[in-house]
Amino acid sequence: MMNRFLILPIVVPLLTAVLCLLFFRKPRAQRWIGVSGAGLLLGVSLWLLQVVWQQGIQTVQVGNWQAPFGITLVADLFSAVMVVLAGVLGVAVAIYSWESIDAQRQAFGYYPLMHFLLMGVCGAFLTGDLFNLYVWFEVMLMASFVLLALGGERGQMEGAIKYVTLNLLSSAIFLAALGLLYGLAGTLNMADLAQKFASTASAPSNAIVTALSMLFLAAFGIKAAVFPLFFWLPASYHTPPVAVTALFSGLLTKVGVYSLIRVFTLIFVQDTVYTHTLLLVIAGLTMITGVLGAVAQNEMRRLLSFHIISQIGYPLMGLGIFTPLGLAAAVYFVFHVSIAKSTLFLISGVIARLRGVYDLKKLGGLYKKEAWLAILFLIAALSLAGLPPSSGFFAKLSLVLAGLQQAQYLIVAVSLGVSLLTLFSMVKIWNEAFWKEKPTVEDETKFALAQNWSWILPILFLVGVTIVLSFGIGPIFRLMSQVGNQLMNPQLYIQAVLGGGG
């Protein structure tokens, strides 16, 4: 299916960013442009998902050059779902940034940077070309570098140096892997690669491709913040304004996960006994180290940052299980956890706005004082911890189903144990920030939530999405199952890109 409007999720944020740049001296106009651009992106992404759902995988040959020679954009259901995720988080964060991002940052390009980031993310989700993926990674990274450092506070600088260095290392590995891959296979189109590797499934060529796939695993693994490549994340994620952290937490590592799932279902399936077992091992270790890191924290944003790592293990577990159900669960998990985690970050921002601190030891009494905020937190936190009937529960349930079907008992046990620790750490926040009495009387800011809609509306929106994800599990998981089926049948993807004959 050829659909030239497939480019829109890339063009809309770019257009928004460029418009913001043209209004660079008018931050107020930028806000409006930024928020409406994000809204438009969400609309476009929903349209795309609907088209892909009804008419199958959509492609466009950019520049009208046939695949594999030009760059092909491909929207299968997986891509479309991820683009919707970008749209949802984009809208929420754009509104939240309205007041929570200070005027100086807004005057120095906050909104255009945010949309550049969205552009990179959507590009990465949609592209069917590995080198083009690299380019979108760089767009996304560069935007994230700047967003992270924007403001120039000391903590930001220290965090940014680690973030930038380790991510550049990842880019360098990716680039080297691309060069080697081109040397071996003479093409960069993912469908073409998949087809070519499938057609020459001889043992030696398989082995060399598998060896090469390890470089991709490393490059994407750093981006996805898996064990033991995650150090950049806890070092930096808590340093920028919380809206930025929420956006990063929802999207950046997820692009890494997306890429891992994409290449390890489509291209590198020569030796799944080796590669996917390795993925399972990494998944388990990532879950454990991440959650232990979180247990040790007392600062809300740091605590949540470690949970990002821990929760990355779950989709990898789905990928490692490597069945349609496992992948469906993985994708559902990614979607759910991005929403839940971003919500929690946004709430932590509101708490800091109310009380001036992120430190759990200095917080307290919020259940009594801000009952609605408490309820919103509870929904998001329990969703993250996987308590039923939240979206997190269904995510975990589907992974457990998939894991037990394949008799992967160890990873299932690890995943359940980690979810208990996640629950523990969410309860800790609840206990310290909401239940416990406030230790000090002073530092109360005069801030009425009800009148500050830009702070609370995005949280309501995201919690609403979480609720839809959980109670609408029927249709939504039907969609995810289709995602899983498509991923496990790469032939569909190949045909959509290269045409029936190949």
Binding site: V146, E158, V164, S171, L178, A235, Q297
Partner: protein, 115 residues
Amino acid sequence: MEMVLPFVIGSLYAMAIYMLLRRSLVKLLIGLGLLSHASNLLIFTASGLTRFKAPVIPMTAEQLQSPHADPLPQALILTAIVISFGVTAFALALAYRAYRSVNTDDLDQMKSTDA
């Protein structure tokens, strides 16, 4: 040359890694520069080398005579070079700002944000 360049690339990588592992922020930047040279040269070499024959169709001809250099990796490298230029410039500015706020270029002093 195919026998030599892999070693050149390998030593560029080795030196880049060595520089990345220094405590000085400035050395880290030099390491990033070396890393990008190494990667670009790697793409160039891995896709095969052809002497002198640029992939440009002469004004007088309608077709390019074989053998000629592979144009695709060249385009990729060009993209990569320009991107790494942008990244390097940003990293420089970052290093400068970091130095200004921490007042040292010793990376071991910049760990207040970790757990």
